[in-house]
Amino acid sequence: MFGLDKKDTGLLLIVAALVAFAPILLNPFPENSALAQFNAGYPDLMQRFVIFGIFAIGFNILFGLTGYLSFGHAAFLGVGSYAGVWMLKLLTINVIPAIIMSTLVAGLFSILIGYISLRRSGIYFSILTLAFAQMSFALAASVLTPITGGETGLQTGLNDPRIFPEFLGGGATSGGNIPAPELFGLEMRASYELSVGGWLWTFNAGYYVCAIIMLVAFYVAIRIFRSPFGMMLRAVKSNQRRLNYTGLNTKPYMLACFVISGMYAGLAGGLMVSMDPLAGAERMQWTASGEVVLMTILGGVGTLIGPVLGAGMIKYFENIFSKINDNLLHQWFAFMPDGLEDFMVAVIHPFIGKGWHLTLGLLFMLVVIFLPGGLVEGGQRIGGLFKRKKKNTTTDTQSTAAN
């Protein structure tokens, strides 16, 4: 189906189903239970899951296939964000031009950076991309303030011109309020809440817009992975010298790959501002570039689904673990004797709240040491265990039958 083989179609359908039912799946605990803290099914976080999923999928096309580690991908995300906000300010509050423009502008920007950075490989390539990204960040925060809004960031305002106020249903300033981004009249922040028993499920318009785009992006990534182009990129990773002596020019292959990857990042940036029309320079900082590297490695470099899992994992930790505080811990351990309760809280304290980075760091170390293939390898190992067990039972039954 869709020009994919059976396995990839299956994967795509599974991801589609997970994404479609995410508002339900991510809210496994009833609203009033003590564990409701761990529910991730609220619009803001779900949007982040899929947007950073797109970002990581794009990063993985570069890093996973060619092995070129870009440390400046956040620059493309940032450039895409600014382009998106400008479209929302100048053209229309409809998100479609913003999303398209942010992808294109990030693509152009990545041609420039890629053309220069790709003259080197290995660590020098990483350093060059890092330098460009930090330069973009510094410029956006200072010199380019008229374009980027400097440190306060760029956002939609009451006095924006919006030359097509009615274009595609986009509204001008409505009732004295700044209009919210929308798609043909459907506001991105619009939600439908469904309460079943103790559970509360929120179906958000913005989330589903992002989700559909993420599925398309995922599908395109599968096509690239399975194409001759993807095979050449894997050959670059494996032995660039041989590829040159085989009559292939690696430079345009690398540049094309870099630009595709940059466009994914720009798309993610465009979606971010479509959900929340505010773009700040800190989005381009090197920590943001590092985050997408972590996501990809945590999920599984070079795998299709890995980056999405990694993005989900990191965003979950960032939003859920960081919200757990000592009061909550005291509630959880209230059943214990006082001394023990305090002791438990003191032990867990460094790992929660502001300490979520510590938990994530430990997890990252464990994954890199014991599962170099990331979460995907973990899944495969578990799958392998079950398969072996099944095989053993079948041989057992066969041998009993033979007896």
Binding site: G3, L4, D5, R223, I224, R226, S227, P228, F229, G230, M231, M232, R234, A235, K237, S238, N239, R241, R242, L243, N244, Y245, T246, G247, L248, N249, T250, P252, Y253, A256, I260
Partner: protein
């Protein structure tokens, strides 16, 4: 006029004269061996032919066109393929993919942005790749990762990768180095068969005289960066200059 003409090529590395005024002419459809003691400049010469090194002076022409100043991929597209001394293959890819990549290079040129069509939809490429694997007797290993092949198989795979492009000139850098006698004989048979069945000119660098005398039609002896003699195998065996070059080194 040979298919490959090397004229007055010089190459220095600092104070070392690696190649000094090398002249070489490889006739079309012949097997030309280049022999010489260690450090004679054989590999440097080969590197100059494929664009890995640029000579300080002199000219290298292939079918009347200069190869100097061209990138390795451009030289390959002209019809020159090279087998390296240590097998250069795509270790992370399967054997069949290793062979398919040169097929794509042959069909689509140096760059083709085919990011949408699936590899498995390319029936013609796959057929060509399968056929060459049958030719080198590796068809049962086509889904193995190339890195896990034995050294001999890696060499055969690399040769298949070069052959599948139907090059006009095949450069072989010690194709039997480190091989057992049986493997060496297999390689000789394979190369003979290739030479008989396809119109491929071959230039071989080799230490093993058994290989050289089984295959070569012309032999050039290099010593200290300069060609000593160019002769037929029969005449080279007892040539006094050749003896001197090899024995002279042995006495040191």
């Amino acid at each position: 006029m040979g298919i490959l003409e090397v004229k007055g090529v010089n190459k220095r590395f600092g104070g070392l004269q690696a190649l000094g005024d090398v002249n070489l002419s490889v006739a079309e459809n012949s097997v030309h061996a280049i022999i010489g003691p260690n450090g004679a400049g054989k590999s440097t010469l080969l590197n100059c032919l494929v664009g890995m090194l640029i000579p300080d002076s002199g000219s290298v022409t292939f079918q009347g066109e200069s190869v100097l100043g061209r990138n390795p991929h451009e030289i390959n597209q002209m019809g020159i393929s090279r087998v390296f001394q240590t097998p250069e293959i795509f270790g992370d890819l399967s054997v069949i993919e290793n062979v398919m990549i040169p097929c794509f290079a042959k069909r689509d040129g140096a760059f083709e942005l085919n990011a949408w069509g699936a590899v498995r939809g390319q029936a013609d490429i796959r057929d060509t790749a399968e056929q060459i694997l049958i030719d080198v007797n590796m068809q049962d290993k086509r889904h193995i990762n190339a890195a896990s092949l034995s050294r001999g198989d890696k060499r055969r795979l690399e040769m298949a990768m070069c052959l599948v492009q139907q090059p006009k000139l095949l450069l072989l850098d010690e194709p039997t180095a480190g091989m057992a006698r049986a493997d060496t004989n297999n390689t000789i048979d394979l190369l003979k068969e290739i030479h008989d069945s396809r119109d491929i000119t071959m230039a071989i660098i080799e230490h093993d005289m058994h290989v050289v005398f089984s295959l070569a039609e012309r032999i050039t002896v290099l010593a200290q960066g300069s060609p000593l003699v160019e002769e037929t195998p029969e005449n080279i065996k007892g040539h006094p200059k050749v003896r001197e070059a090899y024995l002279g080194e042995a006495q040191v």
